[in-house]
């Protein structure tokens, strides 16, 4: 009788455990359950090979986790520094302020995602047409790309496209692939030799680990900057950013059609082997076609804003 009860109780316990685990997975964001379980086991078996292995599992789970706004901020700063090492900031206070205010006007669209320390719009010297954004909300636009716009709404459209890349975490998506490799390398090291040392140091990364992290950080930043400035995002991600940008324009009371009109202007400039923006974005005409209905839509006050734009650019 007792045996029969036990034999029924065991599957029941498993069932309850599985249900609890299932509920935990439903409730927990990302790999929290895996991490916490691995952490618990690692804690309970601290100092043993089992503990080391489970520490490794927890670290692996961490490497696949989403990035917080603060993490995106540090990544973005490092990438922004790479861009600033290749371009010079345009020293024109009036233009700087104007471009920032246009960017902040677009950000009135509540669908635009927040960043850790806000967005910063930075005008770079040069006639090359280049617009790029980093995680954390650093948006760079060359003087040439500003002048390419025919009015404020078109400038807003270009900035909206970059805000969309930040909101949709396209830069972070590019980073994650590289980071996984780096994290995996550090993980192997941690499991193989560093875990006990790590534990002895009270959880603080020691100097050697910090040096390795720093090197991995630097390599990763170089990879990302290369992707942003040389290879660019995939066609699908660019089109996704265009569609989101059209939404931001509409929500912020700019003309939704301004993105298509800016792109049409660029199509005339597009060469088979261009530089900057032309190398990193799909053909402008294709993008206009893909926008479909989103390529249309006017907004009141466009003429007023055009006068303001021309006044700043010296054409009014």
């Amino acid at each position: 009788m007792t045996q029969a009860r036990t034999s029924r109780a065991v599957p029941l316990l498993f069932l309850l455990a599985a249900a609890a685990g299932g509920l935990g997975l439903l409730y927990s964001p990302g790999c929290k359950l895996v991490e916490s379980t691995a952490d618990s086991i690692a804690g309970a078996t601290s100092g043993t090979p089992v503990g080391t292995v489970f520490s490794g599992i927890a670290r692996t789970a961490e490497s696949f986790r989403d990035y917080s706004l603060a993490e995106e901020h540090y990544i973005g700063r490092a990438v922004a520094v790479q861009i600033l090492s290749q371009y010079k900031v345009k020293e024109d206070e009036q233009l700087k302020e104007y471009v920032n205010l246009v960017g902040l006007a677009v950000l009135a669209a509540p669908e635009a995602g927040k960043t850790f320390s806000g967005y910063h719009f930075i005008v770079l010297e040069g006639e090359e047409i280049q617009v790029v954004s980093t995680p954390g909300g650093f948006v760079f636009i060359t003087e040439g790309a500003v002048k390419q716009a025919k009015d404020e709404d078109e400038l807003a459209a270009v900035l909206a496209h970059e805000i969309a890349h930040v909101t949709l975490k396209h830069g972070i998506g590019a980073i994650k692939a590289a980071t996984r490799k780096k994290s995996a390398a550090l993980l192997v090291q941690g499991v193989g030799q560093g875990a006990q040392e790590y534990s002895r140091s009270g959880g603080n990364a020691n100097q050697q680990q910090l040096a390795e992290l720093t090197a991995a950080f630097g390599d990763t930043v170089q990879d990302i900057a290369g992707q942003l400035l040389v290879t660019g995002y995939s066609r699908d991600l660019e089109l996704e950013a265009d569609k989101a940008a059209a939404g931001y324009l509409q929500s912020s009371a700019y003309a939704r059609s301004a993105l298509a009109s800016y792109l049409r202007g660029l199509a005339g400039e597009q060469k088979s082997e261009g530089s900057g923006w032309f190398n990193t974005h799909p053909p402008a005409n294709d993008r206009v076609s893909e926008l479909g209905e989103l390529a249309t839509g006017e907004a009141p006050g466009r003429a007023v804003r055009k006068q303001r734009f021309l006044g700043i650019l010296g054409g009014g």
Partner: protein, 166 residues
């Protein structure tokens, strides 16, 4: 069953009931954790609506209502609207990133190991002294802010107040 045993059973049952009620009350208060360095709680569901309170990273707000992409929250007795991208429901998420930024590794799998924090950034700058001046330039850029009043004037002058501004 003796009267003593009966008393203990009743007391235990009452304690379980009380704990259950307390758990339900605690569970009912949905909390959110601020992930921005600083964010404004707005009077209305508008990006530049008047600010009724300011929250900082790791502050805890109570979720009252969701109207995507906005959430109505309560913070220190003040109620208002926050953009939902300013917060997370995951308490651990906030703790690990901010503790890593202070150089503290709370758990073995902290985000410090991914290298994206202030401590590694300092080490990175030390290893590349040529970048120091550019980081300073970036800090200058970051320090330049535009108050809501200025943005609102710009929106009004450009006839842009018909959107999500306020």
């Amino acid at each position: 069953m003796t009267w003593k045993a009966s008393f203990f059973v009743r007391a235990a049952a009452a304690a379980v009931l009380l704990l259950t009620i307390l758990s339900v009350v605690a569970w009912a208060a949905e909390l959110r954790y601020v992930t921005e360095r600083e964010a404004a709680i707005r009077r209305d569901k508008m990006t530049y609506s008047p600010r009724v309170a300011t929250v900082k990273e790791k502050d805890v707000v109570e979720l009252l209502e969701t109207a995507k992409p906005w959430i109505r929250v309560s913070f220190k007795g003040v109620q208002g609207w926050l953009n939902q991208s300013s917060v997370t429901a995951d308490k651990d998420f906030v703790a690990s990133s901010s503790e890593a930024a202070r150089g503290v590794v709370a758990t073995e799998q902290s985000s410090a190991e991914r290298g994206f924090n202030e401590k590694t950034e300092r080490s990175y700058i030390e290893s590349k002294p040529e970048l120091g001046a550019i980081y300073e330039l970036l800090a200058e850029i970051q320090n330049k802010t535009y108050p809501d009043e200025k943005v609102l004037k710009f929106l009004e002058a450009g006839k842009l107040t018909g959107g999500g501004a306020r």
